[in-house]
Each structure stands twice: as C-alpha cells, then as structure tokens.
Amino acid sequence: MIAGRSIAAEESATPKRAPGLHAASEGAALRLVVDGLEPDERDVLAAILHILEERCARRWQLCDRAPADLQLHTRAALRDHRAGVTGLILREGETAGSGDSLDLTMPLRVMAVLDVLNAAGDRLSHRRILSEQQAPATPAAGVEDDGKSLATALGRLIERKPDQALRVRIVGHGTLYVSWRQRRFCSDFARDKLKPALEQHSFVLTTIASDSPELEQQMQQARPIDELLWSIGLSTGGEPPALCSARFRLQRWPDLARLPHKPMHIQACAALAARAMSADELAAAVGVSRRDACHFLHACELCGLTQTLPADTQAAPSVLPASGRFTGLFDRLRRSLGL
C-alpha cells in the first residue's frame, strides 16, 4: 500500500488562493494532485494527461502537493479537505463512492480520466459562479453560462474537431445538425432562436456518421458553421485560461453582415485590428465589462479569427481621450442608423 505519494512534475511558485477556488477562478492551469498510486501507475497517468493536453476542456497541471483544484486519492490515502474537488481512485473490487463522487477505476483509461477531469472542471466553474453570485460587489452584466448548457457541450465537442457529425434534439426548440467536417450546420427552427436554444439544458446529443443519408438531406439547407461557433462563443467561454494571459490581434473579421452582433462587437474588432490587446485592455478600449470582452474573444477564437500573442507583447497604449474629429462618430452614427 502506498499512501501520501504524489505525482512528480511541480509548478514553481503557487500564489495564495481561497480554498476550493484555486486556478479555476483565474484561467491558469488547474492543479491536480494524486495520492496513493504506485510509481508505474503514476507514470501511466502522467502519459494519459500528456495525451489529453489538447482535449481537456481546461488545462491541467500535475503537482505533488497542495493546494489542489482536484485531488484524486485511493481509499487508503488521506483526503485533502483543502482541495477544490476530490475524487476516488477505485482498486479492483472496491465499490464506488457516494452518488455524486468522482470515481476513477483502475486500471486507468484515457476516456475515463478525460471524463473525470472535465467533470471536475465543470464543478469548479460552477462553484466559481456561485461564489461570484454571492459576492456583494460587481454585479454581472448578463447571465453567466453555468457550464451545463448546450453551448458549453457543443463548444467542448467542436474544439475536438470531431470526424462524426452531431444531431442535437433540443427540448422545446427542435433539432440541430452540425458537421465539423463540412464546416456547416443547420436547424429546423428559426435563425433568431439559435441563441435561446444554445442556452438550453435539456437536450439529447447524438453522434452520427458524416456520410449518413439523414445528414446529407438536412445539410441541403445548411449554413456556415461560423454562425454557430460565433453564438457559442458569445454565450460561453467565461475566462478560459488563454484569454486571461495572452494578447490577441484580429487576423480576419467576422462577417458582421451575416452574424448577429452588438455595436461593441464592431468596435472591438476595429480595436483588435488596430492593436493587439489583452481581454482587460480590450474591455477598457471598448468600454465593456471584462466578461463581455472575454466572451467576444472566445467567439473570435472559436471562429479562428484571432492570432494569440504572448502576454509580453507590447502593451496597448491607454485609450486616448476624445480629440480627433472622428471621435464619437461611431456612437452618433449608431444612434442615427440604429446599429
């Protein structure tokens, strides 16, 4: 029996954070601590995590000591109550934990590890939202996605660029077909219902063959997938890790004649076309909340419109006060034309 042993690979300095809300609230890699595994089992887990690096909804880092966003432990090892989420590693013959516990059965399998990591990521996001709702300051400008909506599920799936197509039956709305391979999608409900449909929590998602007759028939009325990705990005995203630390430059404009947008999206595109900016800089430049800036950047990222630059790229200058003859023209035009 081995207890209290942890996986190697440690990050350098660990900032102090509130218990249970470690990296989840910031966008840095989430910290995973594993106790009670044999050395060869740890090696297997490390290899699996390496494979899953690109596939996980959040970035995970193996650490050998607390604080942990997720602690996986065997029954013999001690549970760290400071961890954000804990999960049980089940040896052969051991019974599962309580109903809502995160269980990982030995021997380790890639998809099982992926499920546990994504479920832990969801729980951490959910807790962060709850803690932000309970916080008295800075009311949110809109409804935050709770990580269980169709938008989140689709976003996660599409980021993996699946070979198979997806059929989604959305309760109260209709059916949505998505083909990543064809980069097209279609729905049997009105275009303006896409956003509320993506916010739904009741849906059945099925993978179907890319060459199925059903898909072929539906895709005759298909639309470019950027319309779907744009809506998913604007509804979800929160603050993915990359959005918090990097700067972004627009390398291609969203087709704003087709895509639903607000005036701030036009201004944000123009700002990012002029200058690489971080989410905070963009929020300041356009005069929107950080959350809205992050969602906009997420939408651009999903549609492949932005180039990500390292955080140490030259900072955007402060927004200049009104001076030129063009200043405020966009707002005046917006009021005239109802943009």
Binding site: A270, A274, P317, R332, L337
Partner: protein, 190 residues
Amino acid sequence: MPQEYIVLVAGPMGAGKTTAIAALSEIPVVRTEAQNTDLERNAKATTTVALDYGEITLPDGGKVRLYGVPGQERFDFMWRILEKRALGLILLIDNAAVDPLADLRHFLQSFAEIDRRGALVIGVTRCDVAMQPDADAYYAQLRQLDRMLPVFQIDGREPAQVRALLGTLVALVEARATFSDARATEGATA
C-alpha cells in the same frame, strides 16, 4: 459646429453601389444614369455616369454624405478629387463578375490613398448568384497584398447589412485615430 463626413461607395459596374446608398440614405438618392454602352462587362441596360448621392443626418446635426462613384475607369478623375476629402470607402465587389479578385486588386490600387489609411471595407455582393470566390479566397488575396480589411458578404438591398458595413468603416477609422501606435504604423507605411 456640426461636421460633415464624406463616405465613398465604389466598385465595378453592377456591384450594387446605387442600391447600397439607397439602403443607407434618409433622402431619396439623387442619381444620373445613361445607357450602358459596355454590355460585355455587364448586361444591365443603364448605369450611373455621375455621382449617386445620399445622406444621413447625425444627432448633432452633422451629416454623413454618401457618394457613389461611377465604376468605369473613364470617371477616375472624380475618384481622385473625392478620395482626399473622404473619411473612407465602402468597396463593393460583384462576386458574379468575370474576375472579382482582379476587380478587388484594381480598386485597391485605384484608391491607394484611402487604402493606405486603412479606411476601407469590402462588401461582396451577388454571392447568391456566384458562391466562388468565397470569403477565404478574398482574405487570401488580401494577405498576398499585405492587407487586413473587413470582407462582408452582403445583399445591398438589405439595409441592416449595408449599415453593418458603414458602421464597421467608421469604427475602423475611429480605432485608428484612437490608438497612437496605429497612427505611428500608418506614418511608417506611408
């Protein structure tokens, strides 16, 4: 004192310049047309031979004056006069033309002064008639020319789509005027 801003709408014959101005203007569009003598290029019976004109009044009394410049090259003396005073250019490209990408290159070169300022947006029309070249091809062409300009697929008869083009043009100009390093870059590339 209320200010005036000139926005040019240019593009080859038949790209929908007059229609786009009509979609934006709050006054009836004033236009001068004549028999089209260049039926090889475009089969429409008549074409604009002087400026199309429309306008938008701003809340402070200022005006956005919309000038549609004729697409034929023999009128390019008008382009020269107007481009110096213009805030920017909405360039419409007919996707059903023989070589839309060549039209794009031609007009970028023709309006080099505005292009250099980056005060230019591209609306691709008649995509329902011809699906190629697609947006990827336009962006690839712009990359070759070392440009990063907005390309929207529009139907000039849809006011919301034309408004998105105009709003984008104004936001572009404002953003360039706001970020000082963008101005420096402009100067460097001039």
